[in-house]
Symmetry: C2
Subunit: 351 residues, 2 copies
């Protein structure tokens, strides 16, 4: 017998490319085009390196308190992790231990099925409707848990708030995770519902609206009991997941509400300006409430456009997957970057 | 039915205290008393905050390459994670999927049984001999995997290199993890054996000998195939576990071999100087090859001494656990800190 027989064999998630080439326009991983809040740069220069020799605060109180203050919730209802991926992985491990399948859409964040397979969780992917919206009644059935990204990725479509609440309400016997990675760009958060439904976990991230993808900070809200269960699992996995720079710089980033509003509004304005320009070029897409647009062209294939953009130094994201292979997911960059994108697309489509 | 029925319920690991009080002498979590390598402070001031808006390199190549260079191994044999706890958690999840029990000593790093319980891995804790050494032949039997901390914690005792190799050799059908968190303080690493035994995973950390506990960096070595399996599971859990400061500052810390040798030698010298002083005061302990001493007093109870030290602002570690409740684990601090410890102990023991 070989040790290989007892290895957990998995097909890992493939993250979007992080090319090391300079001067590309990177619109493939929904990063924020603006730098983090100014206090982050200042604090980095002041940070006491001698302090790195000691373990960080395992309770992450500096960061948890800042998040609790910003969202006006009690700190006992806040959980933090190494990006929302870490938070979601811990949540799958903690809450999805039923024999019944966990439910999520067929087109959504492509890590959900990877976590389910990793932990041996049964799951079913429920098809979105042809217009890529979710049919709420699909989720009115026995299940082992539910995960809904809202707004959904990579479609960018937001679900009706009442319909989402109805799903949470009708599934009080399982945990419902609402993944709000993109909610700050015009979506409506279900955060106020955590006091009404003890089965609701709301997950958010610093990677998009707070310009901190490189620092790996995610967080979640839920009733105190739910967060306690999640923390127990986290403390059974790794006591100290957040390093000192994450805790301090993350707290500073969230404390600057003015800068947050300003950069978020700029991204929304750019997105709204770009929408009609893309339509003029023959692109079709649902209304996006995120910092990306998920679009297909009426004539030219997604793959062709993807390749032609890449040749021009512009990287967007595309999946060779059923139903979405003609689509491109285009992150919203600065106005200048988007103008270059539009110019490149004009060139590509007019040939 | 309630969602609570499908929650994974665990009793988490309890980390050593991280008190927020100033001016204490902290000898409870085996942190390094010296700051990280000078290049770390310099790089922190130069770090480009704008870069934080983008995701880090998921392959962690900057850090992996630096570790591979330092240890002169191929980078395909290196794995990195958020502290050695993250590396060990991933390794348990990846390699220990047998119905047979994973074996480790009854007195060892107290996270091993927590991970086993978290993932539902059967395990057996094999009693150390009365002198707290490992009986190698205990591990010559059918099992689902083996974990040995060497030097062991909290005993500080190093196992004979040949005996350890024999365990690895006789268990070629399972993965043997050798946790070398403390190896730099005078122990002998089994790293050279990874080319001889494809079932060996060697785990080390930046938290002790490299003064970077606050940055959360751990790493592991194994044959290419072993590391590939581990990476696949890691990429099924979280694509980006290491943030940008960890990758850059970790690489710089490992590149300064001179500073590493100098601070490590200082800690070893302090430890050797303190040993006879503790013996004079009536403490008994095995020969430590780590940055701590695990000692009990011939007359006074461990709990009493622990409490009396704490009243004097000196924190050491103690477990209310079978066989070791009379012991104190005392981290090696600076010479000045250890002199204050000895003075406090004199006061406590002479009353």
């Amino acid at each position: 017998m070989s040790w290989e027989e007892n290895v957990r064999k998995v097909v890992p998630y493939t993250p979007g490319e992080q090319p090391k080439i300079k001067n590309i326009i990177k619109l493939n991983t929904n990063e924020n085009p603006y730098p983090p809040a100014p206090a982050v740069a200042a604090a980095l220069k002041e940070m006491d390196v001698d302090d790195f020799r000691k373990y960080p605060d395992p309770t992450c109180s500096r960061l948890v308190d800042a998040i609790a203050d910003f969202y006006k919730v009690d700190k006992s209802k806040v959980f933090v992790g190494v990006g929302s991926d870490d938070v979601l992985a811990m949540a799958f491990l903690t809450f999805f231990n039923s024999d019944k399948p966990v439910l999520f859409p067929d087109i959504t964040y492509s890590f959900y099925d990877v976590w389910a397979k990793l932990f041996g969780i049964p799951f079913e992917q429920l098809p979105l409707k042809d217009d890529f919206t979710i049919e709420p009644s699909d989720y009115y059935r026995e299940n082992g848990g539910i995960v809904i990204a809202n707004p959904n990725a990579p479609t960018g479509i937001e679900m009706d708030a009442n319909a989402l609440e109805e799903i949470i309400k009708r599934n009080s016997d399982v945990v419902v995770i609402v993944d709000e990675a993109y909610v700050d760009f015009g979506g409506k958060s279900v955060l106020p519902l955590i006091d009404k439904y003890d089965n609701l976990l709301v997950v958010q991230t610093f990677s998009k609206s707070r310009s901190m993808a490189g620092m790996r900070i995610g967080y979640a809200f839920g009733c105190e009991k739910l967060i306690k269960y999640l923390s127990d699992v986290k403390f059974s996995f790794n006591s100290y997941t957040m390093n000192k720079p994450s805790l301090e710089l993350g707290a500073l980033a969230i404390e600057d509400e003015e800068y947050f509003n300003e950069t978020r509004d700029k991204i929304i304005a750019t997105r709204e300006r770009v929408k009609p320009l893309l339509k003029e070029l023959g692109f079709e897409f649902a209304d996006s409430k995120t910092n990306f647009i998920f679009a297909k062209h009426s004539e030219k294939s997604g793959k062709e456009i993807f390749t032609a953009l890449r040749e021009r130094g512009i990287i967007v994201r595309r999946w060779d997957a059923p139903r979405i292979s003609e689509y491109l997911r285009i992150s919203i960059g600065t106005d200048e970057e988007m103008d270059k994108l539009i110019a490149a697309l004009k060139e590509i489509l007019e040939r």
